[in-house]
Amino acid sequence: MLRGVPIRALWALLIAFAFAGPAPAAESAGPAAIAAEKSKAAKTSTADHTKFKALEGPFASGPEVTKACLTCHTEASHQVMQSIHWKWDTISPTTGKRLGKTRTMNSFCGSPLSNEPRCTSCHAGYGWTDARQPPPNEPSNVDCLACHDKTGTYKKIPTDAGHPAYVERKVGDKMVPPPDLAKVARSVGAPGRENCGACHFNGGGGDAVKHGDLDTSLIKPSKELDVHMGVDGQNMTCATCHTFNAHIQSGSRYATRSIDTHGKDLPKDDHDRATCESCHGAEPHKVSKLNDHTDRVACQTCHIPEFARGGVATKTLWDWSTAGKKDANGKPIFIKDDHGHLKYSAEKGDFAYGENVRPAYKWYNGTIEQVNVDDKLDGRIEPNGILTLNRLMGDATDPKARIWPFKEMKGKQPFDPELKTLLVNHVFGKDDSAFWTNFDLPKAIKFGMEYAGLPWSGKIDFIETRMYWPITHMVAPKDKALNCAECHSRDGRLAGITGVYLPGRDHFSWLDLLGYAAFGLTILGIAAHGTARLVMRKKTTGAH
């Protein structure tokens, strides 16, 4: 508990700095309704947003709110526009390759290209309708509220390129009322789990689909589920570890640190806390033998025995090759499994799910070789015909590599067998080519590839893919960490890890054979000798 105090104190400071604008005019009391809105941040912050004139509203749109925010937070948009949350575009620090959501392929929907208004609903801005171009370069297009809303009423409509509803709208089967933007604007505070989770818990098109260790169970988790975020424990938010410097987050799947030799992040430091070592250091165990593991085994490997532990199943397989089936009446088919999960969808194909999944373990040095939408697949497809979309680099001989846990995502997705590239599937749109409207794959692909400006031979085949998602959230309490024999045994969790001698798992077969044989033959020899002694003694005694 002692550890919690400075962290809370640090938070209070952080919030104070983040939301301290110029002192508001003292007279601006505003209407009684506004005064009643007591912003949580105001308790610790030097600024009470309910007292700002600029936030009285009304606001007709998101960008209008942003303009109001910028009247005080003059640099906020410029900062956000440098971030990956805005750009969806980054250079891998290890491979130098240009990556990002609009280029790099995944085994879920594939590519946001030609599907923008839907996919860009998770963009940290408004109105990005053409992902072939950078996001609209206007400071008011930055969405402050997605991350800073504290009312819980601000939601981006899934199909509106990042905008919330401005009039009552039907989303799925539900009518969604428009949020009171002025009230939302006055509520702002430090991002909570539900802010980040709105996108990150729902990646891949739904709750828990993508990551496996991030889903809505983390909005109000128990410490059993996540020892850091548990509301009955440390109650940390995402940003407690994913610290932000000028709106740039620390921690990224495009630039993972497999090992953090920098260690503890101190107050006068880089404010980059997205590794376990940032708080726990490199030798965190009281039992020194356990510290002997930290050079080669990632913390997560032992401390996250399973993922998808919060009662929400994660998708483990997505097979696009079966998509598009219709019943006798020409209606697209949807089939649910016993748990109510869609196991077949005419829109998307076959699915499989997993809860409490044991991770796959691999050497990983922080470098991932990703496949981009325009990459030739020659030389990347393994002899068994499987394409790994994000190849994890590193092995036992690499000092930067550690054994890491991963969610292994299995996919089967459209590719061009002639030009050897993956294909862009135009799934969503109010046109007659979108797959989810017409269920005509060649037509959807043609549209998608033309939209992306990429060559296509006209042929479609399906390729089996794998994708590896580093598991790093849902850290279990320490008494639930793996015990030694989970790995130190003949067929343990690390049975597939090569290049290291693991006591309990490994042995030299011929030495063992020789050793057991020597021991066994010795016992046999002794037995024979002993028997001979007994028999001979009887004979000699008998002779007397």
Partner: protein, 230 residues
């Protein structure tokens, strides 16, 4: 068997029950035996031969017992040199064939042991050689590879991608197999005395019947009477 069977043959000095294994030697022997048993049991558990101990328990037991045994060996080595007892382990290759012949055949036909214990030479030629092997080869192979393994964190950065750790494991495992083979032979050999339990009793009480020269008898009676069994 009674003392009558030990009646001295003509011309041979009389045998006397003398303390041949001092209290320290017996303490050393039996604590070493216990530690080797613990190390074998926990070690082969760690190796995956049996699963009777949780891995963590086996690690702690093995490490603790190993450190205690290394300390015991260090002290015993010191003891051997200060007391001059180290000379007991000098090999006497000339006596070896006779002893081997005895254990291979003579023991079956009731032939007498070609070697008799004296105060200055407590072990027969084969025993000396076996114990020497134990003390200069099997033991050091185990403790040196064990210490190298225990200090792995100090050299791990250097060993990445090398056969360092597997080599240590190989030496340790190979020596462990030699150790258990030695132990079963050693235990069986304890049954080859006058009675099946004679040697074990000797190692417990410390006394054995030993041929003494007249001078030794005189010396012991005069100076070290406590070493002679009354």
């Amino acid at each position: 068997m009674s003392d009558a069977t030990l009646a001295p043959a003509a011309g041979k000095p009389p045998k006397r029950a003398v303390m041949i294994y001092s209290r320290y030697e017996r303490f050393w022997h039996w604590s070493q035996a216990l530690l080797i048993f613990i190390l074998t049991f926990s070690g082969f558990g760690l190796h995956g031969t049996h699963g009777l101990l949780p891995f963590e328990v086996a690690v702690n037991l093995h490490t603790t017992a190993a450190l205690v045994l290394i300390a015991l060996w260090a002290f015993t080595t010191f003891w051997h040199f200060t007391t001059g007892q180290w000379k007991q382990y000098l090999p006497q290759l000339s006596g070896l064939p006779a002893v081997i012949r005895f254990y291979a055949w003579g023991i079956l036909t009731g032939a007498p042991h070609p070697y008799s214990k004296t105060l200055r030479r407590k072990q027969n030629a084969l025993q000396s050689l076996a114990y020497l092997l134990f003390m200069v080869m099997i033991g050091p192979a185990l403790w040196s590879s064990g210490i190298v393994y225990l200090t792995y964190p100090w050299w791990s950065h250097w060993a990445i991608g090398t056969i360092g750790l597997p080599a240590v494991a190989f030496i340790h495992t190979a020596a462990a197999f030699l150790m258990i083979t030695f132990v079963v032979i050693h235990v069986y050999m304890t049954t080859t005395g006058k009675t099946v339990t004679h040697y074990v009793k000797t190692m417990i009480t410390g006394y054995d019947s030993v041929e003494l020269t007249a001078a030794e008898v005189a010396f012991l009676e005069e100076e070290k009477s406590d070493l002679l069994k009354k």
